[in-house]
Subunit: 211 residues, 3 copies
């Protein structure tokens, strides 16, 4: 199967799922529908925006293809309608979210490579694209980023981007690399959710009054 | 009347009022005067900064005209002195804020059009310029953006920008379009405040433990 | 002594110390190690990132020299290991932090001058580089920026950058200017900490229900 088609389909699917996670986060804060749309679109496009800002790449996706905002906004509103069934759809949702995040990671790394950057910057770009949409969502919603506290998420992104880059470095065919990275990252994330794998925490207790 | 003069006067007035809303937000958190100045200027210039970042346009206003920072900073400090009378000035303040927000919206859309973008991107640029200064203020002040929770605000910006763009599309004279959009948006916002119009909320209750 | 060498050594030291303050902030929130690394690097490089974004300068430091991320990440992890001794190291830490912040301020101003900007923009660039890493850290950690609430910090940055710019304006030798600014800023900050100097607060009490 053509890896470009796979990535495109999963990328669009990822935008939609990210928008829906943004809508849910806004709903938990009882935002109005306008807030829902803004948070949803910041979540969907935010990772790519941060990557484009740090790489100095332009134009941004939602500027070159503003019609994508209709798609993400429509699904954010659909999420408002179906939110009552969200618990039943939870695992389907987490599975799509995992695929979307890994796709964003791969796409971000490819974007940096297309601009001529090496593996170090490509890994930063991939990680940023995969994870910062959710971080911006949590900043807008005034909460500590989930990516830093819950089951492996950011870690899946960084491990996946290095698997992708190393396999490519060794000259394996693109279609194999993309499918392998997607499968690996997907299984890694789903197992982390299932068995509650976490990165060790760093707990610093403040003993003294610090104002 | 020359629409450029109207927009320039209202734009400067908008910078000042936005800076003053930033000062008030900082005062509610008991920030020091330095924090007041930073929050005030981020509020005043932040919408344009976000727009310039997503459009890739430069230089930013406060870089090409840093002397404007004296103006906004001076009024932020004036706000500190007159804050005790703020409740009495509340409606005058809200009126100036409404005019400033719609002016920012129109100016943002014009900036995108000057760069050759179409109506879709111009509406994003207008909305961003009008609303994101306040969103950055609320992020710095660690609270959920007011624009997503209170009376119509973001909605007034997006409706106004489309009225502006459509009237222009139909070839009406610029001075008419600017004045009509300003009046429309101003009345819309003031009526929303007076009668407490709101966008429907999306309330998502978390039933289950999610960690 | 060559001011370039002094600034380079202090700049690297500043990156490390800023990364360690980010790690401590993440530990106070019980983030996982991945969150620690992200917050640490955002704190270390964030001031320069914001400056580069507002000046439109590129490439960013961590993109042109991604190997620096290993250094800051390593010291963030070291901080996790030595955090229990942090209270004993507190003053050494604050001293290094003060030197780092003033170095960032000077380096930021120089960057703007190298791009051809005047003193106004150079002072904004210096201040931004010195202070916004900590502001981004506090936003990620969902707290009100310390720079706006505690002992003089942002003020030391802005006073130092103007001393630097004015001494340079009067044609004094570079090595003298750099050392004088560093010493001045360092003493100013340490005295502010020792004697709890603060900028006056602006306290605005909300009397009325505002929803």
């Amino acid at each position: 199967m053509d890896p470009v088609i796979i990535l495109t389909v999963l990328f669009i699917s990822g935008l939609i799922v990210e928008a829906m996670t943004g809508a849910i986060a806004a709903g938990e804060l009882k935002m109005d529908l306008f807030g829902v749309l803004v948070v949803a679109n910041v979540t969907a496009f935010g990772g790519g925006v941060v990557r484009d800002l740090i790489l100095g790449s332009s134009p941004m996706l939602f500027i070159s293809k503003p019609e994508l905002l209709f798609l993400t906004s429509a699904f954010a509103l659909i999420m408002v309608l179906i939110a009552r069934y969200f618990d039943k759809l939870r695992w389907a949702f987490l599975a799509l979210d995992a695929l979307g995040m890994i796709t964003f990671t791969i796409v971000g790394a490819i974007r940096a490579q297309d601009m001529g950057f090496g593996m170090g910057v490509a890994s930063i770009a991939g990680f940023t694209t995969g994870v910062f949409g959710g971080i911006l969502r949590d900043i807008l919603c005034n909460r500590i980023p989930l990516a830093f506290q819950k089951e492996l998420y950011a870690s899946v992104s960084i491990v996946s981007v290095w698997i992708y880059l190393l396999l490519e470095h060794f000259g394996l065919p693109m279609s194999f690399i993309v499918i392998f990275t997607l499968l690996f990252g997907f299984c890694f994330r789903m197992l982390a959710l299932k068995y509650d794998w976490r990165v060790p925490q760093f707990v610093y207790e403040v003993n003294k009054p610090r104002n």
